[in-house]
């Protein structure tokens, strides 16, 4: 939108300007719902695509879990489908080959992180809620916002298409380490790199948008320390994306050049592949890729968790009917977390032969960064004390987040120390640790956000009954999936084994006198974990049903503020129109003025003047 300058020279130009201004209600279907610049539509677009890919990524691992539990057996229901779609080379007779396992493994990670959580937690909720919560009428750059979504979408298309090319999709892990990622003979690896460049571009555009919106478009009276914690979380997340993604973009370009132009950025001298010397100049460094990758990928994990922490904070404050405890500590911690996130990355590289000095540095910073994380969790926990707790579905997910994230965070400690990481690196312990943080951590935060903000987006409540079914089944099965993995990891089971570790187990006669071979108990856990995973998949169906069914048949809200919340997004009509607020917004209060002594209600909205 341009300025309101009146003094224009030619009538023609003025006219165009007017049309642009007044035409908002008369856009075609395509401009209103598909190529929209409205942050709410874009948020919903990100949400649908993100949740769809979360489900798809889960389906990939569900198929992989069959291979781990029953290696060599055809996958029921989907086996024949796999064979017809992907060919008998990778899925002979509906059995998952090791190569296909690697493809699914690499893509599961990539899809969940970049096409699932980042769009769903950061972009979807961020786009929809942040402008509303700061009292803005839209994001600072609506057209860049649209560009960001479509760049993301095209990146998703490229990634999805890569499954069907000869050779298959990327299969060198979501970490795409060279030299394997460079020499592996499938074009899927190249598609992955191109897809990543598009996804990174989308995130960079989005990050700039969020930062300018939060800095410059806060409504009068919305000072920094009156912003809801969700906005702070998104603010820091945007900084992490802005500054951490470019090195991965650079690395992606370099790896693309290694693959396409046969350079040797990451290929060492003297590399031999399949018995033959590789015809490249050599002189490169595989470690360089690891440094560049993890320089992004560590801040990336904070990108994954911070929006969820923000959502949980909102839901907790609302459903305890009291302010968050330690708002200033929360803000300080999240800012410090943002800074520290950039100097811990090599704790993913302890096994690369680094010297003791560097190792000591990263161990120290890694331990330091646990401090703000714990402060945030503690503040959220203490916020429950003395609260008048309402146990609705969003609150259940927000409550469960706390111990689940606690487990995830605490189990990270042995990984942060070099001496213990030696035993646990690349084992199932690591898988359990990070899944506890993202799965019953972030994903529960996302669920909480969906149930919480659904009434504002649609004007209807989601079914409480099915919400509780979804919650309890998800919680139970999540723990049944990931808790046993700690035991498997400590017993020495490595990651990324398509046979679930059978080669290294006692059931393999070659291992009869090998100490540390995997016991039958440990191997048996593969079956129970897989069963829990499939049950978890089924448990999502009521949620999917609930989301769509409630649009038409959910209980209609009786007010614009069904949760009786204090933050500004509840001051709009339901659903908010283009332009969001029908009256001018001024902010008079802190974000969580619940149960203010002497007030007539147990909540005092931010836009309500203090007496």
């Amino acid at each position: 939108m341009s300025g309101t300058s009146a003094a224009t020279k030619t009538a023609g130009i003025t006219e165009i300007h007017h049309d642009e201004h007044h035409d908002h209600g008369e856009h075609s279907f395509w401009r209103t719902y598909i190529f929209s610049t409205d942050h709410k539509i874009i948020g919903i677009q990100y949400g649908f695509v993100g949740l769809a890919f979360l489900f798809f990524g889960f389906c990939l691992i569900a198929m992989m879990r069959w291979s781990m539990a029953y290696e060599g057996a055809p996958i029921p229901f989907v086996g024949p489908l796999l064979e017809s779609l992907l060919g008998s080379g990778v899925a002979p007779g509906g059995v998952m080959s090791a190569q296909l396992y690697n493809v699914f493994g690499a893509m599961h990670g990539t899809i969940m992180v970049f096409m699932g959580i980042v769009p769903a937690a950061f972009a979807a909720f961020g786009n929809y809620v942040v402008p509303l919560q700061i009292g803005a009428i839209d994001m600072a750059f609506p057209r860049i916002n649209m560009a960001s979504f479509w760049s993301f979408f095209i990146g998703c298309v490229v990634m999805s298409v890569s499954f069907f090319i000869p050779g298959g999709a990327a299969q060198a892990g979501w970490t795409s380490y060279s030299p394997l990622a460079t020499v592996i003979p499938t074009d899927g690896q190249t598609y992955w790199l191109i897809g990543m460049v598009l996804l990174i571009t989308s995130s960079l555009l989005g990050a700039v948008n969020f930062l300018v919106t939060i800095i410059n478009l806060r409504a009068p009276g919305m000072t920094w320390l009156r912003m809801p914690f969700f906005v702070w979380a998104q603010f820091i997340t945007a900084f992490l994306l802005l500054l951490a993604f470019p090195p991965l973009e650079a690395a992606g370009i370099l790896q693309l050049m290694d693959r396409v132009l046969e350079t040797s950025f990451f290929l060492p001298t003297g590399l031999v592949v399949n018995g033959a010397d590789v015809d490249v100049s050599g002189g490169g460094s595989p470690l360089l890729w690891q440094h560049l990758f993890w320089f992004l990928a560590h801040p990336e994990v904070y990108v994954l968790i911070l929006p969820a922490m923000g959502i949980v904070a909102e839901v907790l404050a609302n459903n305890t009917r009291k302010p968050l405890w330690g708002y200033k500590y929360l803000v300080g911690s999240v800012v410090v977390l943002g800074f520290l996130a950039f100097i811990v990355w090599a704790h993913h590289m302890y096994m690369t032969g680094m010297g003791t000095v560097i190792s000591a540095f990263f161990q120290t910073t890694t331990l330091l960064i646990s401090v703000p994380s714990v402060i945030i969790l503690t503040c959220l926990l203490i916020s429950l004390w003395g609260g008048s707790i309402r146990f609705n579905t969003p609150m259940l997910f927000a409550l469960a987040f706390l111990p689940m994230f606690g487990i995830g965070g605490l189990t990270g400690l042995p990984l942060g120390f070099n001496f213990s990481d030696v035993a646990l690196h690349d084992s199932y312990y690591v898988i359990a640790h990070f899944h506890y943080v993202v799965a019953p951590g972030t994903i529960f935060g996302i669920f909480a956000g969906v149930y919480y903000w659904y009434p504002k987006m649609t004007g209807r409540m989601m079914s409480e009954f099915w919400g509780r079914v979804h919650f309890w089944s998800s919680l139970i099965f999540m723990n049944l999936i990931f808790m046993p993995m700690f035991a498997q990891g400590m017993a020495g089971m490595s990651r990324r084994m398509s046979d679930g570790g059978a080669t290294y187990s006692l059931s393999n006669p070659d291992n009869a006198d090998v100490g540390g071979a995997l016991s039958d108990t440990i191997m048996g856990l593969n079956v129970s974990i897989s069963a829990a995973a499939w049950a978890m998949l089924l448990a999502q169906l009521p949620f999917i049903f609930n989301v769509f069914w409630s649009i038409k048949y959910g209980k209609k809200v009786e007010s614009d503020n069904p949760w009786q919340a204090t933050t500004l997004e509840w001051e709009t009509p339901t659903p908010p129109p283009h332009g969001n607020f029908i009256k001018e917004i001024k902010v008079y209060r802190d974000p969580y003025e619940y149960s203010v002594p002497g007030a007539s209600e147990d909540f005092s909205p931010q836009a309500q003047p203090s007496k």
């Binding site: 960079l204 410059n216 090195p247 132009l261 460094s285």
Partner: protein
């Protein structure tokens, strides 16, 4: 309602949205180029002796390009200043009274000149320049002797190595002094033996490359022979015969059929492209094909982007290129009253590796092309934006809202200064160090 602070600055931050957004974008760009510079440092520090190219860049051209970009940065500020003063345009012929439009076109001209120099001269001149590594140190030594031996006066102090009390061939001494030590070897102290120690080692093991241009080569003349036909390839007999007719077999009855059933020579002494295309079409049609080299033809040409596989590609047991005529760098040769580079003939069978100065050549060139390429892409993007702002489509905004237009130009100026700053780091690091 309008989005606030798109044109006017927000009082507490002092920034309008676009400017804040641009600074944040520049922060991400710093990280992007920073990652590439860090990669450069890591790769260079880790490079084995003799593998990091130095001194191959034309510093004069680079310095000239640097001046061009610095000038463009000045012009972009002058353009913006004129704009803020309200002078959209001035008379072209008196630069003292130039307005925004003139100074901006001057900026565009500088940017275009920069790209023309880089993409029109610097990069292409590298693509025709080659390094050749030999399989055997004896071949290397012979070729150096052949290429760099001087007829002419020889001075004793140039020939005699005081330390080893030994006579070196003038050719090798010349090579040692002029070309390799400066270009490829780190400078060691005298106690460590100087760079010459590393050079001597490379000389003895034969791992030095010779640099120069390809002036010509001997390329294979190939016979294409049909050796059989399988009927189970999904192609019918008549279709297969049609393919043969398409490849030049006479359409007269029986000739194609005879060739298909009994085999025979299809093409004689054709070039590589023709032979390979025929082979592809024949194999697709179910034929089995044998290519054989029956002779070599001398070609005069200065090819681009050749690699080892281009010359030693196996065709029926023989290489695609038998030998190359190689004009050696820094060798001088009088011929017909003119000074040329001395040409030597290098047989493919002696070549361990051949590569033009392209990204694949070495990690130095890889990172060089990547960083300068990404930088040039930013210059190119800048040109597009400048053109948009100068042509009627963008200028319309000036007529609608002067302040908004001036803001756009200010933001562009910030971006342009960043692009210039990246080059100012790039130039000494890649060209001088």
């Amino acid at each position: 309602m309008e989005i606030p602070y798109t044109v006017k600055a927000r009082p507490d931050t002092g920034l309008y949205n676009g400017k804040l957004g641009l600074w944040l974008f520049l922060a991400s760009e710093v990280m992007l180029f920073g990652a590439l510079f860090s990669s450069y440092v890591l790769l260079r520090v880790g490079a084995a002796d003799g593998t990091w190219s130095m001194g191959l860049m034309d510093i004069v051209v680079g310095a000239g390009n640097t001046m061009v970009l610095i000038a463009s940065s000045m012009f972009v500020v002058l353009a913006w200043a004129q704009l803020k003063l309200g002078n959209l345009s001035g008379p072209w012929l008196s630069p003292r009274s130039w307005g925004y439009i003139q100074w901006k076109w001057a900026t565009v001209a500088c940017a275009v000149l920069f790209l023309v120099v880089k993409w029109g001269y610097e990069w292409p001149s590298k693509f025709v320049h080659y390094d050749v590594w030999f399989k055997d140190s004896a071949v290397l030594h012979n070729k150096v002797e052949e290429g760099y031996h001087y007829d002419g006066e020889v001075h004793k102090d140039e020939l005699w190595d005081e330390e080893k009390d030994k006579k070196f061939s003038l050719a090798r001494l010349y090579l040692e002094k002029e070309i390799y030590v400066e270009r490829f070897f780190k400078t060691y102290s005298e106690e460590e033996g100087g760079s010459h120690t590393a050079f001597n080692k490379a000389w003895d093991t034969g791992s030095l490359a010779l640099s120069g241009h390809i002036n010509g080569y001997e390329e294979a003349q190939i016979n294409v022979e049909v050796t059989g036909w399988k009927s189970d390839s999904g192609v019918s007999e008549s279709e297969a015969d049609k393919i043969l007719v398409g490849l030049g077999v006479s359409g007269e009855k029986g000739e194609a059929k005879q060739l298909r059933s009994q085999g025979g020579l299809l093409k004689e002494k054709v070039g590589y492209e023709v032979a390979k295309r025929a082979e592809y079409q024949l194999t697709k049609a179910g034929f089995s094909v044998a290519l054989s080299v029956v002779g070599y033809e001398s070609v005069e040409s200065h090819p681009y982007f050749w690699r080892t596989g281009r010359i030693n590609e196996d065709i029926g047991g023989k290489p695609r290129v038998k030998s190359i005529l190689f004009a050696l760098d820094d060798s001088h040769h009088e011929k017909d009253g003119e000074t040329h580079h001395k040409e030597i003939t290098i047989n493919t069978s002696d070549v361990k590796r051949l590569n033009s100065y392209e990204p694949k050549h070495s990690t130095f060139f890889g990172i060089y092309y990547t960083i300068t390429g990404l930088h040039a892409a930013h210059v190119f993007g800048g040109i597009i934006v400048m053109l948009y702002n100068l042509l009627p489509i963008g200028l319309a905004t000036w007529h609608r809202d002067r302040e908004q237009y001036a803001n756009r130009i200010e933001c562009f100026g910030l971006f342009w200064h960043f692009v210039d700053l990246v080059w100012i780091f790039l130039f000494p690091i890649l060209y001088i160090l």
